[in-house]
Point group: C2
Chain length 462, copies 2
């Protein structure tokens, strides 16, 4: 599998400098990214492309080639594969669209390619895909215009996506959220390699800490569950399953030719294999972000600290909706808080520091309840930045105290430019920030879900 | 009620130039906003404040005073009210906190004030509130630091909020979303004036087109339902009810002293009075934004047009979750689309224009299905901006065609800087844009809800 992410040598079929050509853009992106392996452009029309020697066919390349990247029109793909078989190149990423997703004729072409691949022991990623992006080896087959889509930095998240547009959106969102990416794989029609092959590989990948999967269907049910079960013992997996209702199932079929199948079966499979399911794009990103930054809480006992009463109430509501407990502090703890705070502050759960709050009050609340006491196992913290007493120092007060407690926290804050800066500071210190009460509560419940699934696994698995 | 939003003259009790003083900030904000009525600072310590003549007491003002703004410590409020009674000033906004929300002692003070107010026919907004912001009369009692909270422009939305922090967050979010505000009212402890008094007033306010209510509890159940019923016949009302579960109800009680009561009763009351309920802050803002920009759809038959297949699938899923139908086009309509498009495009519902899409394809899809055909009554349109064929011209193609159809649409698009620009262009043309498939589908269902409630009302009400 390593060859797909770090090939010693790669041939780009149809390479050209002509603007707008897919193989040309892929080659350009690969060079720009600073990939270290050997690159062989292949195109009978040219002798060199972007300063690299160009070969008229695969058979003209004297050296060994580890991988081919094929992004030429669908009807020409089969011939390339036959040549590649002669040269015993055993890995291909087929970017080209126009196969299974196009109906009868496309299915037929895809089946022929599959036949040649099986006979010649060629492993295939695609067709109808973006292929891969590896931020650590600098290898990519992406044809994304990086001036339109932000490229995320290196980091702990790896993405598996059946949908190309979705993979692009995730990269873009990850870059915006400052969330680092290890690997992205988009396998489109998934003729050969899919989740069941990729999960064991990512389970052992040192750069990957969290795995996000977008799926319309799954490749091989039983194998997938086994692979996911083994992987999720090591690393959290978050899945967004789409194609749930009749309308979505029909849409998925048109999209990647996927038979989405009964959603209930997926739901059960996720539970069985320790996968955390997200409902919708934002929940997906939110959960993944929290899992890369924070540990799961030991129990569901949550403390809420706010300087906006209304926000505390909404978080409390959404905690209840999501199976989180918001118990009041014990009389002893209340007494302790009462003695530390102005009499206007509401000493309960939520602790409401009101519009008079200053930075240090967050330290006092969290140190008293999370460090010196064991009544709570996680905190949802709401520092609204409108009141005059609030400055960027609140970030250190919260981050230092929560780190000392060893317990997880998520932050909710809402506002303009100043708030955006505070968000960045929190996230540099690995505290994930959400722009609404409901998303912060939902995300905390996803962290808890990780803990629950891990424990269940420890009991039920061989 | 008009006096609270456009007083001919207003006295600011405790006015001062001292930095950090509440009455001082309120006076400064009021002057800065360009309010046209007469302003009387009242403070025995000064002879002038911010260049205005300052009076030592209310009784020293020779002219009539329409309204007092009281933002001094709670124990001194009663005396001001007694003076005001002597001068027959019949309106007060009491900003001061430290009453009912503080327990026994506070309740007692509040009751005494209420007694004086009733005996002297004084209408009161507050206490424990921000008061009002009127973008058309330029009257405000807000003590918000406008360098930290963005001030929204003039527009069709009026906000009623029991929570001050929430009102601030809404103003800030509205400004960020380019959503214009007519009036904001925050009544805190709601000693006298609340939703039941304000709704009939807003129902007749020419600047208000949509009303957003944040509520922990309601002032007078039956009266509220009658007022809301009458108002929602004219204008959509969206409510965010907080304090739903045990944890939230307890939090609401600590917050504004509100007895949140059984959530089921509220739910029934909302239905009965034609109020659209939102679950959470984002749904609230999203729904309100759509209602200020678009009309409700006639039926739940939705067309999805996308250039990212995966996004189409997720929107279809969330349409089903929210009671929207995504029926396939009729054979005739399919045929027509087939003849207009590249054979790669998926002619179904969603219509998937794929990564090869260009701007004009959106025109073709929408003109064929929404203008020339009656098979759909609304559209969810997904223009992802990563593909090279997509430019800002897509905005005019979509907006012109949808306007011609007379049917509503919401937009879903995800991405960085370029996408943000497209979002602004769409919203200038009154097409609301959402950053996720699930939020665009949810919002369309809220537009539909408005249509359904309006029809039910037409049948059931006297």
């Amino acid at each position: 599998m390593e060859t797909f992410f770090n090939p010693t040598s790669v041939a780009i079929i149809g390479a050209t400098e002509k603007p707008g050509s897919l193989p040309g853009i892929i080659l350009k992106n690969l060079i720009d990214m600073g990939f270290n392996g050997k690159i062989y452009p292949v195109n009978p029309k040219y002798t060199d492309v972007f300063g690299l020697r160009c070969f008229s066919s695969l058979l003209d390349i004297q050296d060994e080639v580890a991988l081919t990247v094929i992004a030429i029109p669908a009807p020409s793909v089969l011939d390339v594969l036959k040549q590649q078989a002669l040269k015993k190149i055993q890995h291909s990423i087929i970017i080209s669209a126009g196969f299974r997703e196009m109906g009868e004729e496309g299915i037929e072409m895809e089946e022929k390619i599959k036949q040649v691949a099986i006979e010649n022991n060629i492993r295939i990623l695609g067709p109808n895909c973006l292929g891969v992006l590896d931020n650590y080896t600098n290898f990519t087959t992406s044809f994304l215009p990086w001036e339109r889509v932000s490229k995320p930095k290196k980091g702990p998240l790896s993405i598996l996506s059946q949908s190309g547009a979705f993979a692009i959106a995730l990269l873009d969102l990850a870059a915006q959220e400052g969330l680092g990416i290890a690997k992205m794989v988009n396998y489109g029609n998934r003729m050969d390699i899919g989740e069941s092959t990729l999960l064991p590989f990512l389970a052992d990948d040192i750069h990957t800490k969290v795995i996000a999967i977008y799926m319309e269907s799954v490749d091989q049910g039983r194998q997938f569950i086994e692979a996911a079960k083994a992987c999720s013992k090591k690393k959290p997996i978050v899945a967004l399953k789409v194609g749930k209702g009749a309308a979505g199932i029909a849409a998925a079929k048109s999209h990647t030719g996927a038979i989405a199948g009964k959603y209930e079966i997926y739901k059960a499979a996720f539970l069985k294999s320790g996968i955390i399911e997200a409902n919708g794009l934002e929940e997906f990103i939110d959960g993944v972000k929290a899992l890369t930054m924070q540990n799961p809480p030991k129990t569901n006992r949550i403390l809420i600290v706010t300087n906006g009463g209304g926000f505390g109430v909404i978080v409390a509501d959404h905690c209840s909706e999501n199976g989180l407990e918001v118990p009041p502090p014990s009389p002893q703890l209340k007494e302790k808080l009462r003695n530390s705070f102005s009499r206007f502050y509401v000493v309960n759960n939520p602790i409401d520091l009101t519009g008079s709050a200053c930075d240090k009050d967050y330290y006092t609340a969290l140190n008293t309840c999370m460090v010196e006491s064991d009544e709570y196992d996680a905190a949802i913290i709401i520092p609204l930045m409108a009141p005059q007493g609030m400055t960027e120092k609140v970030v250190d007060h919260v981050a230092d105290t929560m780190k000392l407690s060893g317990k997880p926290a998520v932050i909710c804050t809402v506002g303009g430019t100043f708030t955006t800066k505070i968000k960045q500071l929190f996230e540099e210190r690995k505290f994930p920030v959400y722009p609404s009460p409901e998303r912060s509560a939902k995300t905390m419940s996803m962290l808890l879900k990780r803990e629950i699934l891990k424990r269940e696994h420890a009991h039920t698995s061989p």
